[in-house]
Symmetry: C2
Subunit: 205 residues, 2 copies
DNA sequence: CGCTTGTGGTTACAGTTGTTCACTGACTCC
DNA sequence: GGAGTCAGTGAACAACTGTAACCACAAGCG
């Protein structure tokens, strides 16, 4: 029952999206804490004061960017972990999926990796919250697998967090690697994941 | 053959160190790419133009900070890995060492974690280079251990990189955790390391 | 000693920043 | 159809930025 929202609201959303896009592009070569409000409005092509109609501050814009960059990622994460096949096949598929996502949304990944430890507290919190949700979701998927028999909740969450952190680091490494190094990066990432999975298999006893 | 350097040079080094200290302190709540030259000189208590006598730009200052923060860390890394005792004892000691280092040099860790993926290319490179050196050193230590029999150089480097990344992430997590959460962070970090070590033990065959 | 060197200070410039205020004019709703 | 709402405008503000030119004066060195 979503009624079409009026011309007015639609145009506002469009401008808001333009802000997000412009900011994301400007953030490829700087951090959020140095992103100026005027810089963004200039890139969008609107007056500086128009910014306030959409965000209180650039920090607020950053939080919105976190939603955009990570909010849509939950299905992919779950799909990655619950894929069919044996452990090695699953890992290969996960690494390939990460590589593809980085290729398609490089600015998103760059933003998250950069601001995860960045200078803006609210954005750091927003990212931490999303990452915690990822870890919870991965944990839920892991719990379904037979390999997790006998595992405590705590240990499962520990493992899930390790996987999630590893995924983001892999993505960030893809980002900085030259095209001809991508394969090498993928191979190392695969072996890291494989080692962790081996550790998982022998964790108990 | 180190002759005492003149009063002149000594005073210059002192001022330079004041710049580094002031910058590090200012960077606790912002990123390097938003750090202004005037901001730093104001904090030090010198004229803006004095900055140029020591650094070309704030990016240059950042590179110097990388040296200060990571340059002195090499002995600790090596010591951590080559410590005596069985695997679990070694891990406990490593985590404790990391916790202590974070407690003693929080600003250093914050800076490295923040700028590792930060908006200043030269600084990112400087950090990446030091981290690669750490990985090489850890690899060399690992190679000495009997558990590494039969391991290829490539796999050893992969494992070393995994350990190094894990150490920095642990340090950064300590940094953001409240005092009463420190123990919990330490316990999770310990279990992560332990799982990796188990993976290592069963990597071959 | 006097000459050179170079750290740091002073003044000034042209641009930029965030934020305010009063405004326009197209959309919305009764 | 007329009144009200509100996204976006334009001008103005004080404060800030990096950088240039020139100066002061203590240290180094023949």
């Amino acid at each position: 029952m979503s009624h079409t929202l009026g011309i007015r609201q639609a145009q506002k959303q469009k401008t808001r999206q333009a802000f997000l896009d412009a900011a994301l592009s400007l953030l490829e070569e700087q951090s959020l804490s140095s992103l100026g409000l005027r810089e963004v409005t200039r890139a969008v092509g609107v007056a500086p004061t128009a910014f306030y109609r959409h965000f209180h501050s650039t920090a607020d814009l950053g939080v919105a960017l976190v939603e955009e960059a990570l909010g849509s990622l939950h299905p992919m994460i779950a799909g990655t972990v619950s894929a069919a096949g044996d452990s090695d096949e699953r890992i290969d598929r996960a690494v390939a999926l990460i590589a593809r996502h980085v290729r398609e949304h490089p600015a998103h990944i760059r933003f998250i990796a950069r601001e995860r430890n960045g200078g803006v507290q609210k954005v750091r919190s927003a990212i931490a919250e999303q990452m915690a949700r990822f870890a919870d979701e991965v944990k839920a998927e892991l719990a379904k697998q037979p390999e997790s028999a006998g595992w405590s909740d705590d240990d499962l969450l520990m493992l899930a967090g390790l996987y999630v952190d590893q995924m983001l680091m892999t993505a960030s490494t893809f980002l900085e690697a030259a095209p001809e190094e991508q394969d090498q990066v993928a191979r190392v990432a695969t072996r890291r994941m494989r080692l962790i999975s081996i550790g998982r298999r022998h964790w108990l006893g």
